[in-house]
């Protein structure tokens, strides 16, 4: 509840300022205009379509990028040879801003869904890969030795010690990846989409409707936050065993 005070007060001041003529409503539409715009989109029956296609792109790209990132991250975390083989290349590629690949992706995969989803997957891949690989490599050697005492092979070692021990850090990697997925979907939808929240942003700019732009931003915020909470909640149920620092709840 405490977290609501700041945004509610800010929205109220913004609305009052706009109505009192202190800010230009042409460039900075008041919250009520934004709500009206959202209501209009909903009334036209297109709101869910835009939200749905953006969410679907993020979801498919996220699953793809996270899967590849998980497999490669696990392999380079577990095997020194695999790490020596792949990690330097991946680290070098990581330094290229992923959006720089966009023109090439469009040439290779066309302007439609494939290139968009691959862009998102690429953005998701790196944080997932890096976090998992690093987390596995830093699992307590003494726990791994318990596995050796029981004669575990590589598969059991990964499934029963390395992966569970890396899970809390891995989840942070997944959440980072998901955040980047939402970032990349905007870039992908800027480059020619007929539906989606990124399309609404471009449309708002080209037709001079700032309320539409802000409405899309609000929708991005809501969807991003919701998906992150969902992932954090699911992860929290799996990592309740952690004995870490928890700040005291206020009040």
């Amino acid at each position: 509840m405490l977290g609501l005070i700041v945004p509610v007060v800010a929205l109220a001041l913004w609305e009052i300022g706009a109505r009192a003529g202190l800010v230009s409503t042409r460039l900075m539409p008041p919250p009520s205009d934004i709500a009206k715009t959202l209501g209009g989109l909903a009334a036209d029956g297109v709101l869910l379509g835009h939200m749905g296609s953006t969410t679907a792109r993020v979801l498919v790209g996220f699953v793809l990028g996270a899967t590849v990132g998980t497999l490669l991250g696990a392999a380079t975390g577990v095997s020194l040879r695999f790490r020596a083989l792949f990690d330097p290349t991946l680290q070098a590629l990581r330094n290229i801003p992923s959006i720089a690949w966009t023109p090439l992706f469009i040439l290779w995969f066309g302007i439609f869904e494939t290139s968009k989803i691959l862009m998102i997957a690429l953005g998701v891949f790196f944080p997932v890969y890096l976090t998992l690989s690093g987390a596995i490599a830093s699992v307590d050697r003494r726990l791994v030795e318990v596995g050796r005492v029981y004669g575990f092979g590589t598969t059991s070692l990964v499934a029963r010690i390395l992966f569970p021990a890396s899970l809390p850090t891995y989840l942070i990697g997944l959440r980072n990846g998901l955040g980047l997925g939402w970032m990349f979907v905007v870039a992908a939808e800027f480059l020619g989409a007929s539906q989606g929240l990124g399309y609404l942003l471009v449309d708002g700019q080209q037709t001079g409707r700032p309320a539409l732009i802000v409405a899309s931003i609000v929708l991005f915020a809501v969807l991003g936050k919701l998906s992150d909470r969902l992932l954090a909640w699911g992860g929290g149920r799996l990592t309740g065993w952690q004995d870490g620092f928890t700040a005291k709840a206020p009040g």
Binding site: R142, E145, R148, V149, G151, R160, P164, W241
Partner: protein
Amino acid sequence: MIQLSGVSKRFATGLLAVSGVDLTVEASEIVAVIGPSGCGKSTVLRLIAGLDTPTAGTVRVAGRRVEGPSRSVGVVFQEPRLMPWLTVERNVSFGLHGEETAGPVAEALARVGLDDFADALPKELSGGMAQRTAIARALVTKPPVLLLDEPFSSLDAFTRIDLQEHLLEVWGWYRPTMFLVTHDIDEALVLADRVIVFGGQPGSFEAEITVDLPRPRDRTDLSFHAYQDRAMKELGSSSRDRQARAQTPGWPSRAPSS
């Protein structure tokens, strides 16, 4: 049950940790090794466990040459090393693959007095309870050989004495061969049939004390004090010898420990 002959271990760093160790431990015997930290006594335990391989000599358990960890050897480490994401019960069954677990796990937990904590997570346990869980995990397969590497050294004195009693009860249960590494003289004398004094750089066996006292042993008894004195003297003389050697001109000086 355990046989070491001419065992040496040199680490990849070049450090010679132990040299020329000969040892025989009979079935159901409890042998304790005492010595200052860093003398290589834990290295001997790791060689018996199959976690390290000797650079010279052979290690045999139950007549078979040790080439890696085996189910017939249970290990309890200095730290409990529990999987923090598993309950006590599932930590204890950690080493069982695919076989019936409920019975052995319940029995092992009962033996260490943790029946009521089967569903607890490691973060909810005290240090002593965590170490008891680790002992139950090592016992669940009833290995004929149990190796204990300073198992109680991070616990307070009350818990330590309590766990030493538990350990003797466990021994009475199915009489495993026990090899205990410790730096606590009293612990060695309370538990072991034989106490071996380990020391030097590289480490080797320097003296052996057969503890001829009935169990449970009374730490306040005069005869117990006599053994304490003897163990102290052996430890003292082994370290005095080393100092004398180090200070005598003409003796090769010790390699700097890395």
